[in-house]
Amino acid sequence: MSRHHPFYLAAILAAIVIPPFLSDYSLHLVIMVVIFAILTLSLNLISGYGGLISLGHAGFFLIGSYTSALLSVYQGWPFWLSMPTAILLTATSGLLLGFPALRWTGHFLAVITIAFGSIAQLLSVNWVFLTNGIDGVSSIPRPPLPGISLTSNVNYYYFVLICLAFIVYLMMRLVASGFGRALRAIKDDETAAACMGIDVAVTKVSAFVISAAIAGFAGALYAHYIRFLNPDSFSLDVSIRIFMMMIIGGTGSIAGSILGSFVVYVLPEVLRPLQDYYYLIWGVIVILVMLFLPGGLISLGSVLRAKMAARRDKLDPQVGSTETLS
């Protein structure tokens, strides 16, 4: 961790200092990066640390967004009431996936999550009485803050950045806690974890509920930023995109989630001429990461360092084989 400090410091500094100077479009991008970083963190909790595949997180995103949007637009609720409600509702929907996750893992669970996300989107298209269907929900207000106007995108950026920092802190505490350890033990070997006294059921379901809550939070932030919602933004493609961010950035890594969101959003802008091809490139990167760099891009530094250390060991005749390999 100490080796990484300068990079993280630089990144945090850049995140704080640079945005006011960005163009409108670039500012929009970084706000989306932050929101999707929160989403990727939520996915990483259950997939990265917990090993439970989810390709339906756009569903949680949708529920959070629409709940907060509908409550504030049609019921006149203030953001500070609609947002927690959105989180609560999304968290409850997490139960819908938490319980199947007890019975099924791997690809079965993947299909179930796809079903969840797809049904959520399909219902938001068809239940026009609730969601206004494809016409969407508009005029979603920015959150009111005493003294500061969040209508300015720059201010909203700092607002979501603070939210991200809060979620990062939350994740760090979760991962380090007994719950986090239990989750990782389950990922390694569920039977062994149960034998160690871990309540697998409670851990898995809680993981889904918390993950859903965080995703719902991201949803509320999104709705009040973009100010107009429609079901198109919550398709299976979006779920897959979040999944890609996690894989490319780094499974099981908090910094990796943020990096993944950044890379997936910003790279197409940097490689403008290749813009039509960027989905193709993501697919290739995902495959390459799985084959050669399973820890994601964030692990590049440590992998390279380990390779160089191994090379050093090979050349050093004093390092021989012993009874036990470290």
Partner: protein, 285 residues
């Protein structure tokens, strides 16, 4: 009307059945859930489209090519992308096939664009009337092809040495090696066969639905659900499941609402998982 819908549903269902069959074959031999299975269907469709519609080649030439090319792509895919991850953690394998799905579907979109294309029927002529039901000749072709293919595959697996190798590898990969079976090659061949079967499904579907680059994922999801309904791992189950989905799709679309068609497929999945998760034909490995 019910039987009319059911019959045309059976035709699409046959195609779903074949896609599901290939999907299950890859699962049985390599323990891999191939998220890219739908893309093999799309490859076949576009190859047929280019060769027949754009280049004007005759069908008897186009159809074998349209089946062969996905098979080759399947073989190459297994060698390059899948083989390194066989036996790895499930999430790794799933992620690799998702990456593959993204690459193949985007490649199709880059080459052909996102718009729908139409493909002429494989057989000309007026629809037949059987027992009062109007049956397009194309549907008969589809159903007949499925039956022929299913019987042929059964024969292949029981009587040929390739089929026996495939079944041995499906049951116990390590022990198959001890029989002198080249497991890696057998898995690659199984992949190629599965992709070829998907290719046949593509060729059969092309005249029935609009061909477009984005078809892969929806087709994959349908065949995945079909496989689960049928009993994941069972070939008969995959076939029956595919037929059921095809018929259900049609019936729901008419009697309930065309908007809720997709939701219903998912609801059936959920129902099956709640009530009889082992599917219609439980498959024990």
């Amino acid at each position: 009307m019910f039987f009319q819908l059911a019959t045309s549903g059976i035709a699409t269902g046959c195609a779903y059945a074949l896609i599901a069959l290939g999907f299950v074959m890859i699962w049985n031999t390599a323990s891999v859930v191939n998220f890219a299975q739908g893309e093999f269907v799309v490859i076949a469709m576009f190859v047929a489209l280019t060769c027949h519609v754009t280049l004007g080649w005759p069908l008897w030439l186009v159809l074998p090519i349209a089946v062969l090319i996905p098979a080759l792509v399947g073989y190459a895919t297994e060698r390059v992308v899948i083989r390194p991850v066989i036996g790895a953690a499930e999430m790794t394998v799933v992620t690799v096939t998702i990456g593959l799905q993204i690459v193949l579907s985007d490649a199709a979109k880059i080459i052909y664009g996102g718009q729908p294309y139409s493909f002429p029927p494989l057989i000309e002529g007026r629809p037949l009337s059987i027992l009062g039901i109007v049956v397009p000749r194309q549907s008969l072709v589809v159903i007949a092809s499925m039956v022929v293919l299913a019987v042929g595959l059964h024969f292949l697996s029981q009587k040929t040495s390739f089929g026996k190798r495939l079944r041995a590898v499906s049951q116990d990969r390590e022990t198959a090696k001890l029989m002198g079976i080249d497991v890696n090659r057998t898995i690659a061949e199984g992949f190629a066969l599965s992709a070829g079967i998907a290719g046949v499904a593509g060729v059969l579907l092309a005249p029935i639905i609009y061909v477009s680059a984005g078809l892969g994922l929806p087709l994959l999801i349908k065949s995945f659900i079909a496989a689960i309904i049928g009993g994941f791992g069972s070939y008969i189950g995959a076939l029956i499941g595919g037929l059921l989905i095809g018929v259900l799709d049609n019936l729901v679309g008419f009697y309930i609402s065309s908007h809720y068609r997709e939701v219903f497929t998912f609801l059936v999945l959920i129902l099956v998982l709640l009530v009889r998760p082992q599917g219609l034909f439980p498959h024990h490995r």
